[in-house]
C-alpha cells in the first residue's frame, strides 16, 4: 500500500514535470504578448525592451529552470494581463471552477447512476429505451450547442436564469462560494447542466454496461440461486461491483470536466479557470497559461491518486496482498 502510494506519487511528479516542460516549451510558440502589453504607438525600442524584460530572449532551459524552481514554491509570476500574482488569480478562480465541476460531478452521478442501473435492470422497458435514446443524444450534441440553446431558451426567451457569470458570491475565507445565495445557485444551473449532460450520459452508459456484465457473472447467478431478494442482489451485490470502474472513470472524468469547463465557461462567461485560460491564450499571458496547465495536471494527479486509494478501501483483493493475485492458477 505504501509502496503503491509512493509509486503513484513518483509517477505524479513525473507527470507534473513532463506537463510543466511541455507547457513551458510550448509557450514560446503561442504568440507574442508584447503587442498586447504596449500601446499601439509603441516604438520599436519599446517593443525590444519589453521583450528583453519578459525574459523571452533567455535560453529555454534557463527559463524552464527558473519556472520550475518558482513553481515548486507556488510562485508562477505575475499575470501580464491582470497584473496580479498568478497564484492569486488561480486561487480566486479555482472555487468557481471547482464548484461548477463538483456540482456537475454530483449531478452526473446522482442522475447517471440511477439511470444506468434502471436501464440495466429493465432492459426492455420503454423508459429504458427513452433513457438510451436520450443518452445517445446527450453524447452527440456538442457542449457549446447545448449551452447556446439553454441561453436562448432560459435567458432570452423565458428570462428565468442569468445568461452569464456567477451571481452573488459569499466569501468563506479565501474560498468564494456561489452556493449560498439564490442568484449564485441560479447562475450555476445552466452551466452545470451544460457541463454534466455529457457526463450524465457517459456515467449512465458506463453503469449500464458494467452492470450488465456484472449481472452475467457467476456470483450474481449464485446470489440469485441463494434466494436473496432482488434488492439485495441488484443493489447489494451487482451495484457495488459495478461501481468499481465507475470510480475510476469518474476520477478521470473530473479531469475531463475541468477541461470541458473551458468551453462551458466561455459560453457562460463563468469566471473560472477555464475562462482565465482562454483569456490568457488570446492575450498570450504566458505565466497564467503555464500555471493553469500545471494546476490542472496537479488536480489530475491528486484525483487519480485518491481514486487509487479508494480502490484499496473498496476492493478487499487489493487490501491484503498485492503480489499474490498474479500467481493464481
Amino acid at each position: 500500500m505504501i509502496a503503491f502510494l509512493i509509486r503513484r506519487l513518483l509517477q505524479g511528479a513525473m507527470v507534473m514535470l513532463a506537463v510543466a516542460f511541455i507547457a513551458f516549451s510550448m509557450f514560446r510558440f503561442v504568440g507574442d504578448p508584447v503587442t498586447n502589453m504596449l500601446p499601439q504607438d509603441a516604438t520599436l525600442e519599446q517593443r525590444a525592451e519589453l521583450q528583453e524584460r519578459l525574459g523571452l530572449n533567455a535560453s529555454l532551459p534557463v527559463q524552464f529552470g527558473n519556472f520550475v524552481t518558482n513553481a515548486v514554491q507556488g510562485n508562477f509570476g505575475v499575470s501580464y494581463r491582470n497584473q496580479r500574482p498568478v497564484s492569486d488569480l488561480i486561487a480566486e478562480r479555482l472555487p468557481a471552477t471547482l464548484e461548477m465541476v463538483f456540482a456537475a460531478v454530483v449531478m452526473s452521478l446522482v442522475i447517471g447512476i440511477p439511470m444506468g442501473v434502471y436501464t440495466a435492470l429493465r432492459r426492455d422497458s420503454w423508459l429504458s429505451h427513452l433513457f438510451q435514446a436520450l443518452s445517445l443524444t446527450g453524447i452527440s450534441v456538442p457542449t457549446f450547442v447545448t449551452g447556446i440553446l439553454l441561453i436562448l431558451v432560459f435567458s432570452v426567451w423565458l428570462n428565468w436564469l442569468p445568461s452569464f457569470g456567477r451571481g452573488e458570491v459569499v466569501e468563506l475565507g479565501w474560498w468564494s462560494t456561489g452556493l449560498l445565495t439564490v442568484s449564485g445557485v441560479k447562475a450555476l444551473i445552466m452551466p452545470v447542466i451544460t457541463l454534466s449532460l455529457f457526463q450524465i450520459t457517459l456515467i449512465m452508459r458506463l453503469v449500464r454496461a458494467e452492470m450488465l456484465e456484472v449481472l452475467k457473472t457467476d456470483y450474481i447467478r449464485f446470489a440469485r440461486a441463494r434466494g436473496l431478494t432482488n434488492r439485495v442482489v441488484n443493489f447489494g451485490h451487482a451495484l457495488r461491483n459495478t461501481l468499481m470502474p465507475v470510480i475510476t472513470i469518474t476520477g478521470l472524468q473530473i479531469g475531463a470536466l475541468i477541461a470541458f469547463a473551458i468551453i462551458t465557461e466561455t459560453v457562460f462567461q463563468w469566471p473560472g479557470m477555464g475562462l482565465l485560460f482562454m483569456q490568457a491564450v488570446s492575450f498570450v499571458d504566458i505565466p497564467v497559461m503555464s500555471a493553469y496547465l500545471v494546476m490542472v495536471s496537479l488536480i489530475f494527479v491528486v484525483i487519480n491518486t485518491i481514486v487509487d486509494m479508494l480502490y484499496f478501501v473498496v476492493d478487499p483483493r487489493l487490501r491484503v496482498d498485492t503480489g499474490q493475485n498474479k500467481t493464481g492458477a
Binding site: I2, T322, G323
Partner: protein, 360 residues
Amino acid sequence: MNMTQEIYSASATQTRPREDVSDMPSVTPVFRIANLKRHFDVSPPLLNRLLERKERQVVKAVDGVSFDIYRGETFSLVGESGCGKSTIAKLVVGLNDTTSGNIEFEGEDIATHSRQDMDAIRHRLQMIFQDPYASLNPRWRVRNIIAEPLTVFGLLDGQKAIDERVATLLECVGLNAQDGEKYPHEFSGGQRQRISIARALASNPEFIVCDEPTSALDVSVQAQILNLMKDLQREFALTYLFISHDLSVVYHISDRIGVMYLGRLVEVGTKHELFRRPQHPYTRMLLDSIPDLKMTGRARTPVGGEVPSPLDPPSGCAFHPRCPHANARCKREAPRPLHNVERGFVACHAVEEGRLITRA
C-alpha cells in the same frame, strides 16, 4: 486387501500387457532431459519488496526434472494442477526458455540453441493443445490453419501441392477434404481437435507434445481422439509426450509414465510397473483417488490436504505434509531418484530406506 490392490491384481491377471518393456521400439532416447529447471520470478516490484520487506518470490515451476523419451513410445506426465506439466511441455518445444538444465533432442542440446538452429529442427517437433476452442485461430479458414506450418517452414511449393497435402491431412484425421473451406466455429470440439492434430502432422514431425488433448472433450469424443492418436502413432512412427491429469487416460495411452509433484518428478516407470506396483506414496494416493466406474458406491480415499502453494513449497520432500510415511528426514532433505526399476525411478526416502513395502 484394499480396493486398489484388488484393481492391480485384477488388471494383472485379466489382460496381458500389449508390449513388454523388453520389446520397446527403441533403446535410444529421442529426448534426454537432464536436471531441467524453469523458475518464474513473480516477485512484487522492487519498491514493495523494499518497503514491505518481502522476499523475492520465485515459482519453481519445474525444479530439476530428468527423464528420457524413447523413440516410438508415449511418455506421459501426470500430476495435479500446477505441478509443472505444461511448463515442461513448453520447454520441450522451445516455447519457454530454460532456467537451467539440458534438453537433448537426438543428441543436440536444444536448450542452448540459437533461433536459426532451432528453426532447423522445429518442424520435427509439434504440439497439440488442450482447448480445441482456443487452439484454432477463429478468423482463419481451416485450410489455412493446416497449411500454415507448410508455408512457414517452406516445406512445399505451389498452392496446388499445399492444397493436396491439406486435403490428405484432413482425410487422415477423419474429416472431409472440403471441410478446409470452413471456419473453426463450424466444427464441434472433437472435430476441432482433429484439425489441431492435422496441423500438428502437417510438417511431418517425429515428436508431438500433447498437452491434455482430451480433457476438454466429452468421453465419447475423447475415445475417438485417443484412438486416432494411437493410429497415427503407428502409421507415422510418432513419439508422444502426453500430458494429462486423468490417470485412466494416461494408463490407456502411454508406455511409460512420470508422476509429478510440485515441479519435480517423484516417480517414473512403465505403466504396468507404475499402476501395479506404485512405489511413491503420492503415486499411490493418486491411484487411490481415481474414481472408477465399475466400483460404484465405493468411497474413494481422498488425498488429505491440498497442493501447497508453489510459491512456498515445503522443505525437503515437497510431499511430506501430505504423506502418511513422512519422518524428520523427509522434512529436511529432498530425496534423490532411486533407479530401482528399468527405465524408471522413484524419489522417496521411505522407499529408499525400505520403510515402505512395495505393494502387490
